[in-house]
């Protein structure tokens, strides 16, 4: 079987045992942190509420976005609807050029990774600094995020210590507080010097024209208040109607993402501050479609209800094994395997839906109750319908279905399979090596011995009293 790009990426990640170990440990720790207790509010009730809020938001999306845009403008902000990533980056680059921006600080934002905003700004000659510690580490290392909440989760403290020593010339340390302090000292200067701050958005509030940004480091607050221009980039689905709804979403988000009952910093930005010393002079919201309307029209529409808590990544045995980089996409893990084929096309990315055992652990932990396995299965049907399966599997499945719909053919097929397998038996009866696609099986485990008689044969003999 020819190896696909995905297979090669996965093989590369599996070969890096240190990285695999770090990812597994971090995933397990985050899974354990997840708050499932009923402290302050019963989690089951919150989840049900959160699901209904997100599903209703998707239903009312055009209405909510219109309302939100009106309210942002009413409060002195500007709103730009970007059909795709290029439109979004061009708008932001043009704005930066018009305002003579030379340096930009950024808060953590997955959608800006999706539209590759940093590249566009740097190509236009601007300096861009990531201020979330994880993102800052990746920027120095020249890597992409491997996790939607903990972007550098694949790097241990020791890895970061070595990186800071090599790239920043700092004395080596693996003490987290010292690493934090070093980064803080560097970043503080950047905030003060920046002309433009760019952040993402966890949820927008339509009736208030407000953008909510959750974080734990305070970098989001500085990014959204220190520079004179603030640009918020948000996926078009990231919206609810009012503050009550937002409070439910922010609560399940923190519980599921980081095991907090609420994020340390909840920044709420509403237009340009009037009569205040602090805050930006300009407030721009860029609302990005980039394939979301297509997803909304399809069978996996509910995936847009995702609040990007990352709980499904942490609990996924495949993510734990191959890490985010194995997927090769911005959005990784189970949720990414649904989102990425939706945004980037099933043609090229549908194969991701096969990087799952459909074990259902993701759906179990999802605070929105998204039916991730069902959606993965649906994308699999799309890849099959588009003819993207290996030839042996297509032929095999046809033959299998044909035999299974005729009990006589079925019994004959069982007989042939038994005979063939019989030739390959080893001493203990188990098969050590199968030919063709069966090689995948015997690559890592033995195959059970063929049986002299099937159950139906034994039953037939018992039934007729032959002994």
């Amino acid at each position: 079987m020819a190896k696909s790009a995905l297979d090669r990426r996965i093989a590369k990640e599996l070969a890096n045992s240190h990285k695999s170990e770090v990812v597994l440990t971090a995933s397990k720790r985050l899974t354990k942190l997840r708050v499932t207790s009923d402290e302050f509010a019963p989690m089951d009730a919150l989840k049900a509420q959160a699901r209904s809020i997100r599903m209703k938001s998707l239903e009312d999306l055009p209405d909510l976005l219109g309302l939100f845009a009106d309210n942002v403008q009413r409060r002195g902000g500007s709103v730009f609807f970007a059909g795709d990533g290029d439109e979004a980056t061009q708008y932001i680059v043009k704005l930066a050029e018009a305002e003579a921006v030379s340096s930009v600080v950024k808060g953590k934002s997955m959608v800006t990774e999706e539209i590759e905003l940093n590249h566009a700004l740097e190509a236009a000659g601007m300096t861009v600094v990531e201020t979330d510690l994880g993102e800052y580490i990746l920027q120095i290392a020249g890597e992409t995020p491997s996790h939607i909440v903990a972007p550098a989760m694949h790097r241990s403290k020791e890895d970061v210590g070595e990186l800071f020593e090599e790239k920043l010339g700092l004395p080596y340390t693996s003490v987290a507080d010292e690493l934090n302090a070093a980064a803080r000292a560097i970043l503080r200067e950047k905030f003060l010097a920046a002309d433009m701050g760019i952040t993402g958005c966890n949820t927008a509030i339509a009736e208030a024209g407000t953008v909510c940004l959750v974080e734990n480091e305070g970098n989001g607050r500085l990014t959204s208040t220190a520079p004179r221009i603030l640009v918020v980039v948000m996926g078009m689905e990231r919206i609810v109607r009012n503050l009550e709804e937002a409070s439910v979403i922010l609560s399940v988000l923190a519980r599921s993402a980081t095991g907090q009952t609420l994020g340390t910093y909840i920044n709420m930005v509403s237009g340009v501050p009037v009569g205040e010393v602090d805050g930006p002079e300009q407030f721009h919201v860029v609302i990005v479609d980039n394939g979301r309307t297509d997803i909304l029209a399809g069978e996996t529409a509910e995936i847009l209800g995702c609040i990007r808590c990352g709980a499904c990544l942490n609990v996924c045995p495949i993510f734990q094994t191959i890490g985010g980089h194995g997927y090769g996409t911005v959005y990784t893990g189970p949720i990414g395997s649904v989102v990425s084929p939706g945004l980037l096309g099933v043609e090229d990315w549908g194969e991701l839906a096969h990087t799952s055992t459909l074990c259902g652990a993701c759906e179990e932990v999802c605070p929105i109750g998204l039916e991730i396995p069902r959606m993965l299965q649906h994308i699999r049907t799309q890849t099959v319908a588009a003819g993207h399966s290996p030839g042996w599997l297509k032929v095999g499945m046809k033959a299998y279905a044909s035999a299974a719909s005729d009990p006589k053919k079925w019994s004959r097929a069982q007989g042939f399979a038994g005979l063939g397998a019989g030739l390959l038996r080893s001493e203990d009866g188990w098969l050590k090596s199968l030919p063709g696609p069966g090689r995948g099986w015997t690559q890592v485990r033995d195959f059970p011995p063929p049986q002299r008689k099937t159950f139906r044969q034994r039953w037939g003999e018992r039934d007729h009293g032959t002994s």
Binding site: C359, A404, S405, D446, W459
Partner: protein
Amino acid sequence: MKAGAACISRKRWPSLADSEVPIPAQATPVQLFVTCLVDTLAPQIGEATVAVLEQAGCLVAFPSGQTCCGQPAFNAGFNDEAVVMARHTIDVLDATEGPIVVPSGSCGDMIVHHIPELLADDVAYAARANAVSKRTRELTQFLVDDIESPARVRSEESVAYHPSCHGLRNLDLGTQPEVLLGDIRRADLGDEAEVCCGFGGMFAIKQAAVSGELLTRKLDAIDASGAGVVCGGDLGCLMHLEGGARRRGMDVSFNHIAELIETEGT
């Protein structure tokens, strides 16, 4: 015999004993959907299932037209093929009566949930698929919830239970296997207990290396637990685990829960 016709037996397996099993006067008739894997690769699990059901007072029938429920095709995204197998399965099972018992959480999940979804827009099949779905029970569910069987697992060695994902999460099989395991000595798989073993049907072949990593994790946990026996409710996971254990030379037995439930003659 035409598809769907049932052959009801009152006889024991000739190899086990020659006397007839006494069937209680009010025997519950049940249809055994044995699953294609058990039929082909582990007929002894099918026999153990029959023994357990008969001991519990059931009159077991084996609808001889049954083949495969279509789960492997459905799982892999081959819906056209899955529909063919789903229709055949409904033809066979809808022609019978009484509870349908399946010694597998995965196949049970297919018949209970996915076949009705697959055939929802099929006028000739939708209602029948729903009727079959309502009659279908995974083995431990049937024994514990439906007929409250007093039968329990017997084992001299400590037993690690491996809950298969589809049974655990899609059929909610949490308590039933526990009831059957009763108070035997248990081996604890700790954090790994409810983590997927990495089988996943075609996944085991298409993503063999990743599947192998998960297999290693699970086998390490089994090793550390000191289990002498690993017990599960799905042959797919069990053959994946046993195949890996043999490759490593581990001295552990792998059994379907039906094989461990004490019956006359075991």
